[in-house]
């Protein structure tokens, strides 16, 4: 899932300063699961904005709408009938959703209500953790199913480094050393021989280094 954090109310109020009619768009996917931009968060933010503006004696009209996804144009099209009634769109989706909404409604400013952070998992209620950096060339088969790119602070391919101490990373004493996790897992799997194999220099052309990426499936195109 894509994990995001809501921006502070002050930041959002500052962005919305010139506007009085706001279309507030939530997303039912990742940001709902990480409690940053789902239907409930849309309700809370709308309420906070209305109360804040009321306190300053200023008007604000907010339409709350939560789309199934903001990364698919079919769902974005659902607000087309009334998007013209509002001066600005405030999106609580991830960065992808915010941008796609902006692409579809080019005459409307689209503002972000969240900071998109990482691809991760839910460790427990209220706790999320990064697991993947989307490098485009997965090597989890060689590293016991634990990603050295995302889990090692230095993204080392042949670790650990000298900063690993008692299973923790030198960057943060609460952060597990990614390579310690890999070694422990390989031991559990009886695959420690894989640790002996040197992982060659990574080809980063599949990652962000080649600019924004696209995936085309000709067999799926209409």
């Amino acid at each position: 899932m894509i994990v995001a954090n809501r921006k502070t109310l002050e930041e959002i109020l500052a962005m919305l300063k010139p506007y009085k009619k706001v279309l507030l768009l939530g997303c039912n996917e990742c940001v709902t699961v990480c409690a940053a931009g789902g239907e409930r968060e849309v309700g809370v933010l709308a309420s906070e904005l209305k109360l804040s503006r009321a306190k300053e004696g200023q008007e604000i009209e907010i339409k709350e709408q939560t789309l199934e996804r903001q990364c698919d144009h079919e769902y974005i099209d659902q607000v087309r009938p009334f998007v013209g009634d509002y001066e600005v769109i405030l999106s609580m989706a991830c960065g992808a959703g915010i941008q796609y909404v902006g692409e579809k409604y080019r005459t409307k400013p689209v503002l972000p209500a969240v900071n998109t952070t990482f691809l991760g998992v839910t460790l427990e209620q209220g706790v999320w953790s990064e697991r993947c950096q989307g490098c485009g060339a997965c090597i989890l088969d060689q590293t016991g199913g634990i990603c050295p790119i995302a889990r090692c602070a230095k993204s080392l391919l042949n670790g650990p480094c000298g900063g690993s101490s008692n299973g923790k990373c030198e960057v943060d004493k609460d952060l597990d050393c990614g390579w310690q996790l890999i070694i422990d897992r390989l031991k559990e799997l009886g695959q420690l021989d894989k640790y002996e194999e040197i992982i060659p220099v990574k080809d980063w052309t599949t990652s962000r280094d080649g600019g924004p990426r696209r995936r085309i499936r000709e067999d799926l195109k209409l």
Partner: protein
């Protein structure tokens, strides 16, 4: 509690303080009330085991978008209960 309240006090019954969500409080203020008083069971005596402790966490802003966080920019006046032994008074919010 079968007490008589002033006519300007509206009682909203919930099964447990654990049910109280920040949105509930915010919507109440939107409707124009002057304050919200949230009263629940004593700590350790929740009928649903941990509902009051969860409400307390939310009130203190340590869980999710907590009530206090929601209010810190609007009405930063959560008052401490005057006598915490008589009731587990979770918190009081008032408009300024």
């Amino acid at each position: 509690m079968r007490l008589n309240y002033p006519t300007n006090v509206k009682i909203v019954k919930v099964p447990c303080t654990g049910r109280v969500d920040v949105l509930l409080i915010l919507k109440t203020f939107e409707s124009g009330v002057d304050g919200v008083y949230l009263a629940g069971c004593l700590e350790g005596e929740c009928h649903f085991l941990r509902g009051n402790l969860r409400a307390k966490k939310r009130y203190k802003g340590s869980r999710g978008p907590g009530v206090q966080r929601a209010f810190q920019n609007i009405n930063p006046r959560p008052l401490e209960p005057s006598n915490p032994r008589t009731l587990f008074k979770q918190g009081i919010w008032r408009t300024e």
